[in-house]
Amino acid sequence: MLSLAAVSAGYGSFQALFGVSLDVSRGEAVGVIGPNGAGKTTLMRVISGIIPMREGAMTFEGRSIGGLPAHHVVEQGIAHVPENRRLFPRLSVEENLRIGAFIPTARARFHEQLDWVYDLFPRLKDRRSQLAGTMSGGEQQMCAIARALMSRPKVLLMDEPSAGLAPLVVSQVFELVRKIRGEGLTVLIVEQNVQQVLEVVDRAYLLEVGAIRLSGTAAELKGNSFIRAAYMGL
């Protein structure tokens, strides 16, 4: 469904990704794990078009999305939950969700989608008129995911959804990921929290210094001695 072939990208003279290839099939949840500075966030930003791809090819449902500006990538059905949530802090929860449904296809079915999202995250319904910036970290993450879902995506990109949250809340966030999978969405998730992310994804890639070092099913990676030693502290 989503496929990257030998994608390179960077900022100015700094290259962050070196020939990354990766595939995500329909209905799958795929993880990208790796240390800080490995290029995980860059990878997400390249897919959603915030950073231009320099080399390689990127296709989504058979159509090329390489070089497409970010505001057109959403229209293809790819929604991105950015790192650090990036809600609009002085807009209410519901206004954040409305922005999520900005594209015409989503706007047409706004109320239907809003009901679905509120069913999924009842907490947000209680807080609908609260300013997004005044909520707790976990609630903000919920809102950021909901905002992305408002565009009626086929694939959800999640960048470090557990970052900066208390351990108990982290578990809740992974519970949300599971819930979203249950709705039949395809998920590509970037995480440093290796142990927990491997519990919710089918497959994962290990990204180190901008290149894919390892890949396999979640079970394989959980059993891999290198990953156990370097990323799980076992």
Partner: protein, 284 residues
């Protein structure tokens, strides 16, 4: 209370309506595009000339002339954005100031060249109302009412529509809005058009009260800027309230001293306040 003081206060409130409208336009543009339109008051001047020529020279009915003026100045706003602002969006702020500052001199000189320095009046004589022995200018009353209607319309637009919500969102996080399918460049054009339309509306209201000449922008341009800074640049509600604070100072200052002195009071107030609250009246 002294009846003349009351009259001054009422006229101050009425003056605040138009100033508030202009402060809203300037703040909207600054808050969203992050560029200060130094030449904003001179764009209003262009609108006043447009109304003058349409109505007084070519006999277009006043309401139609106003609509054409508003649409025209709105288009001028878009042109200013595309030709002057867009190319310097990624430049240092000083260069942006120089670009819009250059526009100020260009517009003033161009107007002088085309129309000379004559003071022109559109020649609409509106009555002065006498309410309980106070004199209130009907033109100011209209300007105040229309200014308020414009402000409420803008508020509803920003609050209720998708594009309006996107405009508020972009002022809070410039980069991330693209992930929601929002094309920043298009929002900038919409905002410039709205800023222009507000300037056009203000031009129609001001033309009812004042003569137009190439340097009319200098008389209220600086006042709009201190209003915006006082309210906190980019803070629309702050600017709206500050417009009435400043117009009150001008009106009451004019009552105790003279019109010229009233501006001295307003700017002194501004300078002192900047020392105490550098981020504006309503900064947290």
């Amino acid at each position: 209370m002294d009846i003349y003081l009351l009259e001054a206060i009422i006229n101050g409130i009425l003056l605040g309506g138009v100033l508030a409208l202009l402060a809203l336009g300037l703040n909207l543009i600054f808050g969203v595009i992050d560029v200060v339109w130094i030449a904003y008051a001179d764009i209003v001047m262009c609108g006043m000339y447009a109304l003058y020529f349409l109505y007084a020279q070519y006999g277009v009915p006043l309401p139609l002339a106003c609509v054409i003026t508003i649409v025209g100045v709105s288009g001028l706003g878009v042109l200013v954005h595309l030709l002057i602002i867009a190319p310097v969006l990624d430049s240092p702020p000083l260069n942006q100031l120089l670009a819009t500052g250059g526009l100020l001199f260009f517009l003033q000189s161009f107007a002088t060249l085309l129309f000379g320095t004559d003071f022109r009046n559109i020649g609409v004589r509106l009555p002065v109302l006498e309410i309980a022995t106070m004199y209130v200018s009907f033109a100011r009353l209209i300007a105040f009412a229309v200014g308020l209607i414009g402000a409420v319309a803008l508020y509803l637009f920003l609050k209720r529509t998708y594009v309006g919500t996107a405009i508020r969102a972009i002022a809070q996080d410039r980069e991330i809005v693209a992930l929601m399918g929002i094309d920043q460049r298009r929002i900038y054009i919409v905002v410039s058009a709205i800023g222009g339309a507000l300037a056009g509306l203000a031009a129609c209201l001001l033309a009812l009260q004042y003569d137009v000449h190439p340097f009319i922008g200098n008389t209220f341009g600086p006042v709009i800027f201190i209003i915006c800074v006082l309210g906190g640049l980019g803070n629309m509600i702050g600017g709206f309230i500050a417009a009435f604070v400043i117009s009150q100072i001008i009106a009451i200052g004019g009552y105790y001293g003279s019109t010229e002195l009233s501006y001295v009071f307003a700017f002194t107030f501004f300078i002192v306040l900047m020392l105490i609250r550098p981020r504006g009246l309503f900064a947290p």
